[in-house]
């Protein structure tokens, strides 16, 4: 570029006008953010939300209290106790405490589970209003996700 063109460009603020044009174009173009509580960006299918215990089609719990997740967990989220009822074939958990405040959502528990009992839900709202609200017991582990919003923060509950 010749010096003259350069100084002319500089004098007529060409660089500034180019910048202004960019912001003006974005002003009229599509917006990226969404109005959150009304519109929710759906998490990806593999999203690692709150982990949840699942039951099989007959409503039987899948968890056999093998504690594989407890051993795999690097942050000691789990406190599991199992018991074999008289005549039952499999062990069932009687205590399944899971601590949200310790969890790092690494996914080891889900990977090691031999019966696919513990899986990630799509619940991404993790805030609680009380500290004891971050400790989940056995019955709550089956509800985790959509059904468990009372447990967590009320501020951003979905309205739809």
């Amino acid at each position: 570029m010749s010096r003259l063109a350069k100084s002319l460009k500089s004098f007529f603020l060409v660089d500034m006008v180019r910048g202004l044009a960019v912001t003006l174009r974005v002003y009229f173009s599509r917006k990226v953010t969404v109005a959150y509580p009304e519109k929710v960006k759906e998490p990806a299918p593999r999203f690692r939300g709150l982990p949840r215990l699942y039951r099989d089609e007959q409503g039987e719990p899948l968890c056999i209290a093998c504690k594989a997740c407890q051993r795999a967990c690097g942050t000691n989220c789990f406190d599991i106790e199992g018991k074999k009822e008289e005549g039952a074939k499999l062990m069932r958990p009687v205590k399944f405490d899971w601590k949200l405040d310790r969890c790092s959502f690494c996914g080891f528990c889900v990977e090691v589970c031999p019966t696919n009992a513990i899986r990630f839900s799509h619940e991404f709202r993790l805030t609680g209003v009380r500290k004891d609200g971050l400790l989940f017991h056995l019955d709550e582990m089956y509800l985790m996700g959509e059904d468990l919003q009372d447990h967590l923060c009320g501020g951003c509950r979905r309205t739809t």
């Binding site: 500034m16 910048g19 202004l20 960019v22 912001t23 003006l24 974005v26 002003y27 173009s29 599509r30 917006k31 990226v32 953010t33 969404v34 109005a35």
Partner: protein
Amino acid sequence: MTPFVADVLIPVGKIVAVILYPMIMVVVMIWLERRVVALMQGRLGPNRVGFQGVLQPVADAVKLFFKEDIIQRQADRFLFNISPVLVMFSSLLAFCFIPLGEPLRFGTYTLTLWIAESPVGLLIVLGLSTISVFGVIFGGWASNSKYPLMGALRSVIQILSYEIPTGLTVLTVAFVARSMDLVEIVRRQESSGVWYGFLMPVSFVVFWISAVAETNRAPFDLPEAESELVAGYHTEYSGMKFAYFYMAEYAHMVLVSSLVVILFFGGWLPPFPGVTALRFLHAVPGFVWYLVKIMFFLYLYVWIRATFPRYRFDSLIRLVWKWLIPLSLANFLIVALVRYLL
């Protein structure tokens, strides 16, 4: 019309109006700024409170109103309290001299759309708006804290430096209009048929740049550069005192936009006042034209803020002393010469 109405009610009404008008503009401006900046960044911006978030500034004000008013122990209480008032007062007072339109006639009574008209209105407005620098330096110094002090020092140097090109460009307008009366300047633009902004583009550009700098707005917002000085001279302020500084900044922007419109863009005149084919534009009330023009410049403020990085302090001062002052001086001489010859 009874003397009571003419001498008491109307002046009081005008005084109320001159306080309300900038305040409403400030509220609109705060909403405009947050919304437009958001849209320019691909965000939605505040859209919760009221239709499209227009009541967001009100919500902000309510929040600030109920915030704890903190005066830190080492602060100079008197100056600390007086400075937000000083800043606010200086910009509001200047609005007394800003005409909003031609006088309206109701039978025999003439209602002027300004509180005070002075043959040197232009100088008074400029002078009053500069008083705010006292508020800034008092506030920065009285906070007894380092960031506010640095912000205040920057602000003083900046405002004082940019006064020079402002004064020089304003003088060119006064030369051409042969008046310093703001109403008269608009009338001259009507009679000459061309807005001074098109007649003297250099004056306009220099005035606009200096005006942005004087209102401490991006890209010249060094006194409150948030990435460096946290919040500049009002770092230690909270609650309504902070709101005063905040509103004063926006009121100042409205004031400067009004001045630009009056000096360079024909105030309340419709576009192309001299062209007879466009006479139909006169059907729209002058005040509407006036507001539209002011809004354009307020938009420009926001647009510039959303686009540019922030100047550094030394280059800011270099810009004014090495570029704007020589440019405005040359411009001043040329205009004076042309005016003398014609």
